[in-house]
């Protein structure tokens, strides 16, 4: 197990947003988290990445309890995430967006004495990522000038550029055209060969084809989990989720 949550609960103002979640993410697999709007999927990501602290419970990453660590420490352990609402550096160029992520791989990542113009290693890594996400043509454009779909790909590229062990993607294809979605699925698949991925998705066809395992949440609790086939045939899931989709 790469990551395991143990009885994670989160209460905010009397509302129970997450209920006793016991989840396991297997190394090298693509795990998808599905569930209706407001099920607590994004909140679960926030708890794992240190953006929110759970009221109870532990998150074990490689046998280390990461609850209470600040987001930057968790990121340095190799956990990268993208956000449901695109979160990039809008006034920087696309290239710079990737560079600021890529330079974290080097000891001089925030050094005052090193000059970015002489940093071939970061530039090379950034070029590699841009090619992977298909934005090399857009390199010098400002990030905010990109289309919505390209911005989502850029954000995924930034998460990849920090060379994570564990990649968490919150609805990476939301708002994308069918063609963009298809390209992103291919990208997730190819990245998934090297990196453990956890995906939040609403598009069922995507989830069914790409995932090794599904976890279904509703009202903050786990309904069921298993292979895509098992979950698809589960009555409770059909009732709360697939039935409405």
């Amino acid at each position: 197990m790469l990551l395991r949550t143990e009885n994670i609960s989160l209460n905010i103002g009397g509302l129970q947003i997450l209920r006793d979640l016991n989840l396991e993410i297997a190394e090298g697999k693509i795990t998808s988290i599905i569930g209706p709007n407001g099920a607590g999927k994004t909140t679960l990501f926030n708890v794992i990445t240190g953006r929110m602290s759970p009221t109870r419970g532990q998150v074990w990453f490689k046998d280390k309890n990461i609850v209470g660590l600040s987001p930057f420490r968790i990121a340095r352990l190799g956990i990268a995430r993208s956000f449901q609402i695109t979160n990039i550096f809008e006034r920087m160029s696309v290239f710079e967006n990737v560079c600021i992520a890529a330079q974290t791989n080097f000891p001089y990542r925030s050094s005052i004495f090193s000059q970015v113009s002489k940093d071939v290693a970061t530039s090379r890594k950034a070029e590699e990522i841009l090619e992977l996400i298909g934005l090399e043509q857009m390199k010098n454009r400002r990030a905010r000038e990109l289309s919505h779909g390209d911005q989502r790909r850029l954000e995924m590229g930034m998460s990849l550029a920090i060379e994570p062990v564990f990649l968490m993607l919150d609805e990476p294809t939301s708002g994308m055209s069918p063609a963009e979605t298809a390209a992103t699925i291919d990208l997730i698949r190819s990245v998934g060969e090297k990196v453990t991925i956890c995906l939040i998705e609403h598009k069922m066809n995507l989830v069914m084809t790409v995932s090794d395992k599904l976890i279904v949440l509703n009202l903050g609790g786990k309904i069921t989990e298993g292979s895509p086939e098992e979950v698809a045939s589960d009555e409770r899931v059909q009732k709360i989720y697939l039935g409405t989709a």
Partner: protein, 339 residues
Amino acid sequence: MADSDVGGRTVSNRRLIEAAILLVLVLLPLGSGRLFSDFYIALTLRILIFGILMLGFDLLAGYCGLVSFGHAMFFGTGAYVAALSWRYLSDSVWVGMLLGLGLNAVIGYVLGLLVVRTRTVYFIFLTFAFSQFFFVTANSWRLIGGTDGLTGIPAPTLVPGISLGDRIPFYYFSLGMLTIAYWVARRIVNSHFGRVLRGIHQNEERVKFLGYNSPLLIRRVFLISGLFGSVSGTLMACFQPFVPPSYYHLSLSGEFVMMGLLGGMGTLVGPLMGTAIVIFLGDFLSTWLKEAWMLCLGGLYVVCVLFSPEGLTEIISKLSATRLLSKLFGRGDRHTSGN
């Protein structure tokens, strides 16, 4: 488009103009007394001195997005410490400067731990509150002159035999310091640290989730920024042989903010232009308008904001007649790689 220019052309153009401006400043004293009165050298000196502080101010406010309303505390401390050391310890300018830097490093470190918890308006309030504390202390502490401040400060020497009380050596010393400060600031802006600073300005949360300890980096830039202010204060204690408590005053901190906003922050060159404008204009207007000149400055500021929220550098870069200048002030380095 200067915006996303990461190539070498813009940089080499900027180097050219930087060299030209430096050359003019180097030659300026030759015209003094012939082409114009010595008074203009004094005015230019004030620009050089405050310019050093403004470079540091820009690293913090322009690049990292944290506007300090208390930068006078570093300036005042740099001035007081240097003045005291020249009177009681040694007449070497370096001793005073290093002691000022040392104390300001401590202040920057300690206060950094506190201000780093705040952002935006709260950052402004907190930095203001701290500098007010320094003002009240200096104003009431007899040992350092109280309300009168320190007077009759001996002129320091650059090396034994060269007194900085003489106008020409002091002018070149100040110009040298500004040049070094500019070079250092430019290097910081173009460092990996500088890139992350711009990231913090635009989206601190993203920076954190990429694995950067942003509070630590903010503390670092706060301290560095204070060191620029310290050098500036030390030079001022050398320029005018008295150090009043008003060096800590809110109105001075406010003037720094004004200089930065006028010139356009996040460009290094912008705040230097803002400094020149406030000092030149302040001098001319205050002879005619007395107290009301600040009002004019305020008016100019409003015009700037209306036409360009990014200050004069942006207005200039918009005018096609000043293409050359636009290369220099191109906003490229603010948003992209800089170089």
